[in-house]
């Protein structure tokens, strides 16, 4: 077994699959997260994001393929792997009977690199009462307490499963701010899952779109946006059906006006559109949400 190597990717999976009885939760997923990236895992609930997180944590074994954390197998080398990860689970499952300061010293015991000054600074910044019982904290405060516990040993890889799901805007700001600080100040790597696409679009520089356990798309946010186009066409005559254009992933509209989401080089798309009895009245870059909806729809249609 190799120990972590300086050149190894913080997270890399190859042909990764996992099934539960008859459900294929992850199916042949391959991607690599480079150091310093903020990597967004995007997908609907049940797409397989949490399964991927659990595989990264070594809580599950792959049915096929591999997942490596800094080159290490999280199932074979749990201690060495977990020392490098700061993990926040979706349900922020913390022991309710502990007081916050007890939770902090309890968590610190697992991590030789725990930085108590840093933990205290975060606690003050998040305005968490050290004497409060975890059970008495609000949902947002529990999320922040979980984040504090995930970050205080300054892990080179932060894994956050739906970190801001169901939280109010103020706590979401705190959590996103902490992600940004982690990357800006220390060049650490963050992998976070979310179904809030505007949030991912702001914070992530790389994304993987997952649908029904399969990787639909992965790459840099800029590359993804540059490869997709949103075009509104105005036809000379009303159209009964969405226009067929190569590269089109989705169409909305009706009558004389249709908006298409397309993938490909703009010159190629332009010449394909020129064949239609229509003029281009608007050409923009789609939002991540547009891309996801268009790609997810296409994927479903192919099944």
């Amino acid at each position: 077994m190799n120990d972590s190597t300086p050149n190894a990717a913080p997270l890399e999976c190859s042909g990764l699959s996992r099934s539960f009885r008859r459900t294929q939760a992850l199916d042949d997923v391959t991607f690599r997260v480079e150091p310093g990236q903020v990597f967004g895992l995007v997908g609907e609930n049940g797409a397989g994001k949490t399964t991927l997180m659990n595989l990264a944590m070594g809580l599950l074994r792959p049915s096929a393929g591999t997942i490596r954390i800094f080159g290490m197998d999280p199932v074979m080398q749990p201690e060495k792997t977990l020392a490098k990860i700061g993990y926040l689970s979706e349900d922020h499952d913390l022991p309710g009977w502990m007081r916050l300061h007890e939770l902090m010293s309890y968590t610190a015991a697992f991590f030789p690199d725990w930085d108590q000054d840093y933990a205290e600074r975060m606690r003050e910044q998040f305005q968490l009462d050290p004497a409060a019982k975890v059970r008495q904290l609000s949902r947002g405060q529990r999320a922040l307490a979980g984040l504090l516990c995930a970050m205080a040993h300054r892990p080179p890889l932060l894994l956050l499963d739906e970190p801001s799901s169901g939280l109010d805007a103020v706590v979401r700001r705190d959590i996103l701010g902490a992600i940004i600080r982690t990357v800006a100040d220390e060049g650490r790597t963050v992998v976070f899952s979310s179904h809030l696409l505007d949030e991912v679009e702001r914070v992530a520089d790389h994304v993987a779109l997952i649908r029904q356990g399969r990787l639909v798309e992965t790459g840099s946010m800029d590359g993804l946006k540059a490869r997709h186009h949103r075009v509104t066409l105005r036809f000379a005559e009303p159209q009964a059906h969405a226009p067929h254009v190569s590269g089109a992933l989705a169409a909305q509209g009706g009558g004389r006006e249709w908006t298409l989401t397309l993938e490909g080089d703009w010159p190629a798309i332009q010449s394909a559109l020129a064949a239609l009895p229509a003029e281009i009245i608007e050409h923009t870059a789609p939002t991540l949400e547009d891309i996801f909806v268009a790609r997810a729809g296409r994927q479903a249609a192919q099944v």
């Binding site: 700001r173 600080r181 505007d198 679009e201 702001r202 914070v203 946006k225 009245i281 870059a285 939002t287």
Partner: protein, 131 residues
């Protein structure tokens, strides 16, 4: 430096920053020599990826609007004025293009549009001080 990022906006986030900074410089709200926030401070404030801010700053430097010097942070370039003038023309050209397209869609011809502009100018002149 007031910048507003929207993910429903179709432009990429770095391009939104570049466009808004150019706008601020062109309108004089950012003056030559003004200090601009450090990359990580702006990333924190806008809650966006620091690499995105870095990319916007690089483009603004390449365009000659920003100057960064070791130790003294990033400032609005002192020679920003001629560029700002070009930028003003570009901003207005974009608006005019949109206006022309809309007039065309609505079936308003050029002469009628020019007449309308003149009419609006006279209506607004007393309230608006022109530079």
């Amino acid at each position: 430096m007031r910048i507003h990022i929207s993910t429903t906006d179709t432009a990429p986030i770095y391009a939104q920053i570049v466009a808004q900074v150019k706008h601020l410089v062109a309108s004089g709200r950012l003056a030559p020599g003004d200090e601009v926030p450090p990359i990580r401070a702006l990333a924190q404030e806008l809650l966006i990826n620091p690499n995105t801010v870095a990319r916007a700053y690089r483009e603004l430097e390449a365009a000659g609007l920003f100057e960064s010097r070791q130790g003294s942070g990033t400032r609005v370039s002192a020679k920003g004025t001629p560029l700002a003038r070009k930028e003003r023309v570009r901003i207005l050209s974009d608006r005019i293009d949109g206006l022309l397209a809309e007039a065309h869609q609505l079936g308003v011809d050029d002469a009628a549009l020019l007449e309308l502009i003149e009419k609006r100018r006279r209506a607004l002149r007393p309230k608006e001080d022109t530079p």
